[in-house]
């Protein structure tokens, strides 16, 4: 193989490549081959031997029939030309060995010439008919094969989910149709992917042909035998004026009867592959549009939330601090204390919000989990302690049995649980009880937070886990808490479920269900 032309990156292996060797089929007038000639000679030798051994016991014409059979067999088996050659050879041999004068080619009776003509006629006709029959049979087999390939291809194509799958399918099925290598190239910025220059089956001329197909958007045929050029045909698959794939395949010999039907099949396959690519592109575009719309909605909600939830605490903090500084002496002590408390509360609120925003960002970027063995009871207690500090008036109790260890990230799980508690406190009457329970199942553990708040109407239960959803925009809050809880729990392989109302049309229970690890620590 020649050196790869400059511009093709190194270090890539051909992936989508298949080779198949089809049994070559011949037309009725195909040129004879040496094995078939030897076969015909063998038939004649057997005929001569048989005639020789039986000439004393059987009447003379029977030898002629034996040779006749040999000629027929040679015609049927080896085709027209061998048949005709066999006829001549049979006549000559019979004449030489068994017709008086023996051991000469002399023809004593004019009737013998008639025998020769009969021999030739029968052999030619038989060879022709047998060849045609074989051709028809071959054509039928080819059609069946091609149909099978086409239907298998269509079936496989229905299952593909991306360009690589289409490439592999295309390559595999075309390989079943041609007697030689098949490559599927994808044009990339500086050549082809996979790197065609490294493929041992592709020489520089093939690469040039592929490039021409890419440039001209048209089929490139291989060079004629004896001429310089590539050995493969290249077919570009064009989508919206751009070549997406190039199929390179070995071609069938020009004399092959099934060439046309196989090449048609390859074209059909290319068209179908092209349709499949178009379908995938459409699906991708629709999916992208959907994602983009969701992203935009999320961004808008984030901006609104940022402007509101960052500004209000900041305005309070700045206003309260300037009041303390500028009006310090005129403010009564109780007012000074209250302003200081307001500053503290708003700073906490800001911190909580920023924390949630960071979790949100982390979740959206895809959590990079650092799993370790975690005692869920510890996490529950830590979350309750944090919530009790943040909401001193809340009445949070817990009922925790012995719990198995989990594979999780403690801080994440705590945040998720804290957000549930935060939510329960927010929607409960002051000092209404909030109860945390944990239950262990066969292969999972559930931690539930139940409150006696107003409950969540069934039709909005799916909404509450969406980012920035707020049941009551009048209450302070960002609409991030539950969506973060849900995101974290899902990242940990669990589910967050909501049950509401619990009794008398009131109360909500949120349960974090996490899978238990297969092995214990």
């Amino acid at each position: 193989m020649m050196d790869s032309p400059a511009g093709w990156p190194q270090g890539c292996r051909m992936a989508d490549r298949n080779a198949s060797l089809l049994p070559d089929t011949h037309g009725w007038a195909a040129a004879p081959t040496l094995p078939s000639a030897l076969g015909a000679v063998l038939f004649l030798a057997l005929a001569a031997l048989t005639t020789y051994l039986t000439q004393d016991s059987l009447p003379e014409p029977s030898g002629l029939f034996v040779f006749f059979v040999a000629v027929l067999l040679a015609s049927v088996r080896f085709g027209f030309w061998i048949g005709v050659a066999s006829a001549l050879a049979a006549f000559a041999t019979f004449n030489f060995l068994f017709v008086r004068p023996l051991y000469t080619f002399a023809i004593a009776k004019p009737g013998d010439l008639l025998v020769l003509a009969e021999f030739l006629g029968v052999a030619g006709l038989t060879g022709f008919l047998a060849g045609r029959l074989r051709e028809e049979a071959n054509a039928a087999t080819t059609r069946a094969e091609v149909l099978e390939v086409l239907s298998a291809f269509a079936a496989d194509l229905a299952k593909v989910d991306g360009l690589p799958a289409i490439r592999a399918t295309l390559s595999r099925h075309v390989a079943a149709l041609v007697p030689g290598p098949v490559v599927v190239l994808q044009p990339v910025a500086d050549g082809f992917s996979p790197d065609a220059g490294l493929d041992p089956g592709l020489d520089a001329a093939d690469l040039q042909a592929a490039e021409r197909a890419l440039r001209r958007h048209s089929r490139e045929d291989p060079a004629q035998p004896g001429q310089q050029g590539g050995s493969l045909a290249f077919l570009p698959l064009v989508q919206a004026g751009e070549v997406v794939l190039i199929l390179g395949h070995a071609v069938l010999g020009p004399n092959r009867a099934d060439r046309a039907v196989r090449e048609q099949a390859i074209e059909v396959i290319c068209q179908q592959a092209n349709l499949a690519i178009a379908r995938l592109t459409l699906a991708t575009t629709a999916e992208e549009a959907r994602t983009s719309a969701t992203r935009d909605a999320l961004r808008a909600a984030l901006l609104t939330s940022l402007s509101h939830d960052l500004r209000t605490p900041l305005a309070t903090i700045l206003g309260a601090i300037t009041s303390l500084r500028e009006l310090g002496n005129t403010l009564p002590p109780a007012a000074r204390d209250d302003l200081a408390l307001a500053i503290e509360e708003e700073a906490r609120r800001l911190s909580h919000y920023v924390e949630n925003l960071l979790y949100m960002t982390r979740l959206q970027a895809g959590l990079d989990l650092h799993l370790s063995w975690v005692d869920p009871a510890d996490v529950v207690r830590a979350a309750i302690a944090r919530a009790s500090t943040a909401f001193p008036t809340a009445r949070i109790s817990a009922d925790l049995p012995e719990l198995p260890m989990l594979q999780a990230e403690a801080a994440l799980l705590e945040q998720s649980l804290f957000n549930l508690l935060d939510n329960a406190v927010k929607f409960s009457a002051p000092a209404a009880p909030i109860h945390v329970t944990a239950t262990v199942g066969q292969d999972q553990i559930a931690v539930c937070v139940a409150d006696q708040g107003p409950g969540i109407a069934p039709r909005v239960q799916a909404e509450v886990f969406k980012p920035f959803y707020r049941a009551d925009p009048g209450r302070p809050g960002t609409g991030l808490g539950l969506s973060i809880s849900n995101g974290i729990v899902q990242a940990l392989g669990g589910t967050l479920t909501v049950t509401s109302p619990l009794r008398d049309g009131k109360g909500t229970r949120m349960c974090i269900t996490l899978p238990l690890p297969k092995a214990s620590p």
Binding site: H308, T312, A315, T322, A335
Partner: protein, 227 residues
């Protein structure tokens, strides 16, 4: 002497909380409303002397409150707005709000604005004295430090409109509508030229104006000279 009553209209409890303490310590009585409807009811029942109004209310838009109020009262209104509520703010001023302050703000700034709007309640007529500037409204004459200044009729109208509203932000639109008429509401570049001419005639240093202050993107404010 009774303390002025300030009505604070904001749905954020924390904002109400610090404003309440600060205003009480500064010698004001305070009343609170969390919604536009409640604010309108309070204006009718409590008769406040000024209103601090957040533009982002949960029920009525702050602008609707101003529109409703302006139909029947000249109650001074200071609008609380956010940086990205520029258009809302200008519309609120166009509708008749007296001033604005952008969140977050220091309390000193708010108290100064409040004092200014409370002072401007009685609109002066007759002869206006502002530092060395004497504007004779009926006589259509202006004197600066005893010297007579020649003003075109439009310049005079512009000066009077500004000087009659000391401390108050007048939007481009409000000035253009009153001085030039309703057809000229959008001719801001025109207004800029006239303000420039007026400054040349009345300001000691037109590059650092003492009387006519620019509120970028909003309008102009007349700075009342301390008497």
């Amino acid at each position: 002497m009774t303390k002025p009553l300030i009505l604070i209209v904001d749905d954020e409890a924390q904002i109400q909380r610090f404003l309440g303490h600060a205003l009480a310590a500064s010698g004001y009585d305070t009343a609170f409303a969390a919604t536009g409807q409640a604010a309108l009811a309070m204006v009718a029942s409590a008769k406040p002397d000024a209103m601090i109004l957040d533009l982002g209310l949960p029920d009525l838009n702050g602008k609707a409150v101003i529109e409703n109020l302006r139909a029947r009262s000249g109650l001074p209104i200071i609008v609380l707005s956010a940086h990205d509520q520029e258009m809302e703010k200008i519309m609120a001023l166009d509708l008749g709000a007296n001033d604005f302050i952008t969140k977050p703000f220091g309390i000193g700034e708010l108290l100064a604005r409040l004092r200014a709007v409370l002072r401007q309640r009685a609109q002066p007529t007759g002869i206006l004295r502002q530092g060395g500037l004497v504007i004779d409204l009926p006589g259509h004459t202006v004197h600066l430090n005893g010297q007579s200044i020649h003003l075109t009729p439009t310049e005079f109208d512009l000066l009077v409109m500004l000087a009659q509203n000391p401390g108050r932000v007048l939007t481009h639109r409000q000035i253009l509508m009153q001085v030039w008429g309703p057809a000229h509401g959008q001719d801001v570049p025109y207004l800029r030229v006239f303000i420039g001419q007026l400054r040349q005639k009345i300001e000691t240093d037109p590059a650092a104006p003492a009387y006519i202050q620019t509120e970028p993107g909003v309008g102009y404010r007349w700075i009342a000279a301390e008497a």
